[in-house]
């Protein structure tokens, strides 16, 4: 006698549970089965919380469906969702990721009063004059003089950074961090980068070489897919 095909399979690993959901059945069928199965392996009140990775295969979850799934797994049953992994993405999301991870090349002088706003990484070939401002969701690379304001990771990415051939900026901004030029007259720096130093909890300026150590994921595409 052939067993009915399992729609939900649960596998225990050292890191926690992996929950495979069949990719071909309907969502409702899967949810019903999940409901029963998960309830039976639910940790007792005195046991530690177990983390769960959900693997969807070639199934795409709509927002409501994902909410429902989370509700069953963590709200009703005291599991912690570590990740929900699907092998498919919507074209829109893919395009947005691409947009976010592309390097946009701009060949222009950003003059006083001008603002350049970029989705993704910015490669500016030209200067940012005092009073000018460049903003990117990703990194800012300036082949030229940075005198004005540069803002990297404007949507909150702490791992972004700012590089310039020469920098004597009015301000550097990364994610929600802001640093400003000292009040005394100072020399600028050549070929350096600004990045967030987590320990000091502020933006620091350092030699470009440190990026090799501190920002391994220069490959923006993967970085942003992972960071969402």
């Amino acid at each position: 006698m052939l067993d009915k095909k399992q729609l939900v399979t649960i596998k225990g690993t050292r890191e926690g549970l992996i929950l495979f959901i069949d990719e071909a059945c309907s969502f409702n069928e899967a949810i019903t089965e999940l409901h029963d199965k998960i309830n039976s392996s639910k940790p007792k009140p005195d046991e530690p919380i177990v983390s769960v990775t959900v693997k969807l295969g070639n199934r795409y979850l709509k927002t409501e469906q994902e909410e429902r799934l989370r509700e069953i797994i963590s709200t009703e049953n005291r599991f912690e969702i570590y990740a929900i992994e699907s092998d498919v993405v919507l074209k829109d999301d893919a395009l947005r990721w691409k947009e976010n991870s592309e390097v946009k090349i701009v060949n222009q002088i950003i003059r006083s009063g001008q603002v350049l706003n970029i989705t993704g990484d910015l490669l500016l070939i030209g200067d940012v004059n005092p009073g000018g401002k460049v903003i990117a969701t990703g990194n800012v690379y300036i082949m030229g003089n940075l005198y004005g304001i540069a803002h990297a990771g404007v949507n909150g990415d702490h791992n972004t950074f700012i590089i310039a051939s020469y920098m004597k900026p009015t301000q550097l901004r990364i994610a929600n961090y802001i640093s400003r030029a000292p009040d005394y007259e100072s020399e600028g720096v050549y070929m350096e980068c600004g990045l967030i130093d987590e320990e000091q909890d502020k933006i620091i300026i350092d030699r470009l070489q440190v990026l090799a150590r501190k920002r391994l994921e220069l490959n923006g595409f993967e970085r942003r897919i992972q960071n969402g």
Binding site: I109, R111, S112, D127, N129, P130, G131, G132
Partner: protein, 266 residues
């Protein structure tokens, strides 16, 4: 067909009107037909510096509102037959002038004159936009001060958005050599590097400019003051001659350039 050049700066009081008057006069000295337009409605000055205030009957607003013909409003200079001034209105409502109106006037003047020099008001509002509307290119005036350079940069950014216009050129005005040497004024090279447009002239801070303005005789008419030579050099560069930048340093070199200039002029 003539060429229309707007003289602009962003910041007020850096020498737009002085530059307009002197470039216009210097071009007239070189036998070009020149028309100056004052677009600083309500704060007109160009007529005073040119010493033509007492001849004004109609002004630019009268032309735009059809109270007179363009020709009737033009004032012929005292010294040069082919130098004219279209004065600004002193009292009328500023909104009377529009970009369209300016363009029409300039198109008409270009038939007759080699150069139309437009004196722009300070600021970046409607007055600026009107002044720039009909121009083929711009000369940006700055002094060697931070705020002035910043505003010049702002203006250059705006000018670069004007599609019909050639890239602007720069005049650095009111240079004081000892301050530049001591580092109390921004260096010419630093200004040019920051603004990264062509430098078409540097003008020293010169008492003669003020004396001349008060007499209603632009300084370009005096033969040997430093500022006068600087303005005439700018005019020559506008005509396409390549003239080396005036040395800020030695008096001897200066004197030689004066002679050189007269040789060229004759």
């Amino acid at each position: 067909m003539g060429e229309a050049i707007v003289i602009t700066s962003g910041k007020g009081g850096v020498g737009k009107t002085t530059t307009s008057a002197n470039i216009g006069t210097a071009l007239a000295l070189m036998e070009k037909k020149v028309c100056l337009i004052d677009t600083d409605i309500g704060l007109r000055n160009l007529d005073v510096i040119m010493g033509l205030e007492n001849r004004i009957i109609y002004d630019i607003v009268d032309v735009i509102e059809g109270r007179c013909k363009l020709k009737q409003a033009l004032i012929r200079d005292k010294r040069f037959e082919f130098l004219s001034l279209l004065p600004a209105a002193q009292t009328s409502d500023k909104t009377a002038v529009t970009s369209e109106g300016m363009k029409e006037i300039i198109t008409e003047l270009k038939q007759e004159y080699d150069y139309i020099i437009i004196d722009c008001p300070a600021g970046i509002e409607q007055g600026y936009q009107n002044a720039v509307a009909g121009a083929d290119r711009a000369i940006v005036v700055t002094t060697p001060e931070k705020a002035s350079v910043r505003d010049a940069d702002r203006i250059i950014g705006l000018l670069e958005k004007e599609e019909m216009m050639e890239s602007p050129r720069l005049v650095i005005n009111r240079i004081r050599n000892h301050m530049m040497k001591s580092g109390d004024m921004i260096d010419v090279d630093d200004i040019v590097q920051l603004l990264s447009i062509d430098l078409i002239g540097i003008v020293i801070d010169d008492e003669e400019v003020i004396k001349a303005s008060n007499k209603g005789e632009p300084v370009a008419l005096t033969p040997n003051s430093k500022a006068s030579i600087a303005y005439r050099n700018i005019a020559r560069r506008i005509l396409g001659e390549s003239v080396p930048l005036q040395s800020l340093e030695d008096e001897k070199g200066m004197f030689q350039r004066v002679k050189e200039f007269f040789r060229m002029g004759s």
